[in-house]
């Protein structure tokens, strides 16, 4: 049990996907302007990352490994993840068209999102069992969600800030993300 807790703390705080591993920066910057949209994105990412962890684990251990096709990992994973995101996209368009419009391009972008790919590959690298892999995928997406929600709050403040012209917009957002990442360094070695 304790190992699951450590996985969660590790993935959410210590090795936060966004702020420590620097994965998934694109939706992190793109969808952090409004809290409502950010929450929708969090939901989508949590679903995609958890499900992708499960599916890619099964793919790796039940299809690729027995067949000796470990080298096809990247291609196979991309295939599965892309389909998954498409599925979420279609489902969301049907059930929550407003949110779909707000997420815009960023939803399909999860397809090529390094965070989803990263969690799938890390699962294999860290030799996690199926349950651990799913927990890790879920925790990693929680970490993404945490970073995104914190950043959305900050974003509303810095959008009303008054930076010099060269730093307006994404530039100052990146500086803020850097400072936030600095703050997350405090969690370093919380879990070894």
């Amino acid at each position: 049990m304790i190992s699951y807790v450590l996985i969660v703390i590790g993935a959410v705080l210590v090795n936060n996907f966004v702020l420590t591993r620097f994965l998934g920066i694109c939706p992190f910057l793109g969808v952090s302007k409004k809290l409502g949209t950010a929450l929708g994105m969090c939901g989508a990412v949590i679903f995609v990352m958890t499900a992708a962890s499960a599916v890619t684990w099964a793919l790796q251990h039940k299809i690729l490994n027995p067949l000796g096709l470990g080298y096809m990992q990247t291609i196979a994973f991309i295939l599965v993840i892309a389909s998954f995101v498409q599925l979420v996209d279609i489902a969301m368009k049907k059930s929550a068209p407003k949110l779909h419009g707000a997420l815009g391009i960023f939803l399909p972008l999860i397809t090529t999102n390094c965070a989803v790919m990263g969690v799938a590959v890390l699962n294999v690298q860290l030799k996690y069992s199926f349950i651990k892999a799913v927990v890790f995928g879920f925790a990693a997406s929680l970490g993404f969600a945490l970073a995104l929600i914190i950043f959305t709050g900050l974003r509303e403040k810095i959008d009303r800030a008054n930076p010099p012209r060269a730093f307006q917009g994404v530039a100052i957002a990146l500086v803020t993300a850097g400072l936030l990442s600095l703050a997350f360094m405090g969690f370093a070695t919380l879990v070894k």
Binding site: L69, M72, V80, S83, L87, K94, P97
Partner: protein, 294 residues
């Protein structure tokens, strides 16, 4: 290389792909949402400046309105005739070309010529200043100079010179955002080829205007006498009738109120257009939004 390896690989990956594809196809069928492809096409045509000049909330909204609600097709001013033709083609309607209109500020009372009546201390915004004791300019029709129009201008065409707004016609994209922003309704959209304007909006009688501003219309009707139908009177204020060309340009020099000016397309309409290019960089009122005038 073992042929089996290739077969297994392609079979496995193909199988996975097939499964995913089938799932997607099913989802697309059962969860399909109907959409009018023309809306998207229309969105592509529009410039995407989201200036709101058409009266809709951005280009996408206008695109929807044109395609679905049959809104007028000639509302996109920044797009000009080019976009109009494309929209007309897409909608199968006739395009009626119109001359480009640019914004002109109908006030030339700068800080030297039009005095202030009190010391305004508050938000540097025209609407806000106008709401406190009726605005701080002695002339109750004149430009307050707090830059509300410049802040809404999407193309940076409005400059403040000596406390009065000036629109640069070649930068103006005809969106009318400034017209809506001005609390004193000083900005008018006029055909770009017309260069002679009455730059005063004061409806007051002559003596009051004279006291409040050195370049105000005193209602002497001189312009009507000299240039005939190109001008008309509304109470004590001369207005330019842009449908009729000004034949006698002498009026620019003869106007006793010095409020009739001529300015070319590349020049800003200033009574003394001595400096076609501003000597100082355009002010950035956005940075001074809350600074009081001290």
């Amino acid at each position: 290389m073992d042929i089996n390896n290739i077969l297994i690989t392609s079979g496995a990956i193909g199988g996975v792909g097939l499964t995913c594809g089938t799932a997607l196809a099913l989802a697309a069928k059962f969860l399909a949402v109907k959409e009018d492809p023309r809306v998207e096409a229309m969105d592509e045509i529009l410039p995407g400046a989201n200036c709101g000049g058409c009266g809709f909330a951005g280009c996408a909204d206008y695109a929807k309105a044109v395609v679905l609600d049959g809104a007028a097709i000639n509302l996109c001013a920044p797009g000009g005739n080019e976009v109009l033709e494309l929209i007309a083609e897409a909608m199968g309607q006739e395009a009626s070309a119109e001359e480009k209109r640019v914004a002109v500020v109908m006030c030339a009372g700068d800080s030297e010529k039009a005095p202030r009546k009190h010391l305004y201390n508050g938000v540097a915004d025209c609407t806000a200043a106008a709401a406190v004791a009726g605005g701080d300019k002695l002339c109750k029709y004149g430009c307050l100079g707090y830059g509300s129009c410049a802040r809404v201008c999407p193309s940076g065409a409005i400059e403040f010179k000596n406390g009065v707004a000036i629109v640069h016609p070649d930068l103006c994209i005809s969106c009318s955002a400034c017209v809506r922003a001005c609390p004193r309704n000083l900005i008018k959209m006029v055909p770009v080829s017309k260069t002679i304007h009455v730059v005063c909006s004061s409806k007051d009688k002559g003596p009051i205007v004279k006291k409040a501003c050195q370049v105000g219309c005193i209602g002497c009707r001189m312009c009507l006498k000299l240039a005939g139908d190109a001008f008309e009177m509304e109470g004590f204020l001369a207005l330019r009738n842009y449908d009729i060309p000004v034949e006698n340009e002498l009026i620019v020099e003869k106007c006793p109120g010095k409020c009739i000016v001529k300015c070319g397309a590349s020049e800003a309409p200033s009574p003394e257009a001595t400096e076609p290019t501003p000597s100082e960089p355009s002010t950035e009122p956005a940075e001074a939004t809350t600074e009081g005038q001290t």
